[in-house]
Subunit: 334 residues, 2 copies
């Protein structure tokens, strides 16, 4: 008996509901979904009862055919391997669901064949897209999604597209000031992939902030945001010519440096050089990685995203990116 797949009867349609309630399809539709439409209390009652009895569920695809809306949001990411992503996406999904939309998560691996992939999928028809991945600029994304409701989070926005950007200047400035106040005169910077506009801007900000504080940038090391590249960079810090401070554009990289140079950080306290990360991931709250870092206000960041999802049209007053403040968080290594 276990084998026979209890053949599922077709789901009840609004037609079934209407018939059972003794009204027309139109009335049933109005009673069920268009709150503000005129339906007699009695009929509404009947329809609701019938729907309940039948276990009726609307078919969003059929609905979308006329309304052009599916209550679906696409979230585009490079990948979700970065530790910093964890903190964000869980909340993002929760809040998106809270406003009645579901999330379709799209991973843009290496950027190749994206268009081909998106061409067929439902993602093309979503109500809105949040673009974290840096695979494409605003114009391309708008074309890819046949929608203007595209929120750029990757720094590749244009004058037409709504965008949110962390205002990294304040946090980076504060970190540099912190270092300077502690006597730091020389520094190294460990960067991520320079192909990203966000990263380029971030690097520029470090240059400016360090110069402003009278800290000499002795060295720049090209990493890739990863823990592994941090270990490599850390090994370069073993020699006698270590700078007074090492700034990293990602926390994972700073974690790698810390692990590579544990003997330089007894109890997390810096002995030879100070260490600063970026992102302020929640893992830094764990005891093993007490790394000073720069983070943005996650609630504010998310709040802006939700504001966009609630009313994409009205989001961007002037076409300029909405800025979310960042701040410096001091810990043992800084």
């Amino acid at each position: 008996m276990a084998g026979s797949p209890e053949h599922r009867l077709p789901a009840p349609t609004i037609d079934d509901v209407a018939r059972l309630a003794g009204v027309s399809r139109a009335t049933a539709s109005r009673a069920l979904f268009s709150e503000k439409r005129p339906v007699s209390a009695l009929n509404r009652e009947r329809v609701l009862a019938a729907a309940d009895q039948l276990g009726y569920r609307i078919n969003p695809m059929a609905r979308s055919l006329t309304t052009k809306t599916v209550d679906l949001v696409a979230v585009l990411v490079n990948h979700i391997h970065d530790l910093s992503d964890l903190d964000l996406f869980d909340l993002l999904i929760a809040e998106t669901q809270a406003v009645g939309k579901q999330v379709i998560l799209i991973r843009i691996g290496s950027g190749d064949r994206v268009e081909e992939f998106l061409r067929r999928g439902i993602a093309y028809h979503v109500d809105a897209a949040l673009v974290f991945s840096d695979f494409a600029d605003a114009g391309t994304v708008r074309r890819l999604f046949h929608s203007d409701h595209v929120l750029m989070l990757n720094g590749r926005h244009d004058r037409l597209s709504p965008a949110i950007m962390p205002d990294e200047a304040t946090g980076i400035g504060a970190a540099a000031a912190d270092a300077a106040a502690k006597g730091v005169r020389t520094a190294a910077l460990v960067t991520g992939r320079a192909s990203s506009l966000v990263e380029q801007a971030r690097i520029d900000l470090y240059h400016q902030a360090l110069a402003r504080c009278g800290i000499e940038l002795r060295r720049t090391i090209r990493g890739d945001y990863s823990y592994a590249s941090g270990r490599d960079a850390g090994n370069l810090m073993a020699g006698p010519d270590a700078p007074d401070a090492v700034f990293c554009t990602s926390d994972a990289t700073a974690m790698g440096i810390l692990d590579a140079r544990r003997e330089d950080f007894p109890e997390g306290q810096p002995r030879r050089f100070r260490l600063y990360g970026f992102d302020n991931i929640s893992l830094l709250e764990f005891g093993a990685y007490p790394i000073s870092s720069i983070g943005y206000d996650k609630a504010a960041y998310l709040g802006e995203m939700m504001r966009f999802l609630r009313d994409p049209e009205g989001f961007a007053p002037a076409g300029s990116p909405v800025l979310v403040p960042t701040r410096f968080v001091a810990r043992a290594t800084g």
Copy 2:
């Protein structure tokens, strides 16, 4: 000029393509999507060219209305905050996309109002659902999704539902054997929420394995898988009556214990008690948490899931869960 929303003309339909190609809708449809259907080479050529010229994209919602399929997979999780999830979901999404399906990620926060939430969403109509969340049993999920294509990964499957389960017995047995071989005679177990069937089974396996190895389970501490609960448990290990080994049913918990008792693990080597985690998350490769752990073969686990997605009907030969082997990974703390 920047203000005026370049009003997007309606996307071309298959009708437009057919007209431009000088064929009927049906022929266009066949040429575009049903590879195996008979269409003359010439017409196929024309249709493809027309589609390309128009930038035609299929409307999956309209299509689903007749085919009852959307190439959409729902992935249900409690939340994606656990570190162990990161390693898995990124790959899962990548591979799902590789077979031409997109992923709708659904977060079941506290289990409340799930049904209400799912009632309206597109998720109800997905081709298949992968259930990691332990919010519901197989029968409920089948009803919730109006589909039999539900793969249970949460241990709450029944005789009708396909399921994949890690075969935790081998890994746990190996960990206990490792401890016994190193002279461990007494142990504590730090557990997660006992409400989860998976967790209950896991705890039972520890009991059996420890007994088999002649290790006395002195104490069981109720945690919640989190780092914080590990720190709490770690503080309980400060006294003189610490056991020879502490087993945790999650790595995050073990990380918390390690951080709470760093002085007991110089260079990660155990001085007062040995420490074992569970899940073998990639973070354990980082230097700071060299915790012996138990992991499953991620590729095998994923491979089975993909096998299900490719052919849900043919997946479960006997209605019994497919088992994925686990193994013990020795590190400094064990």
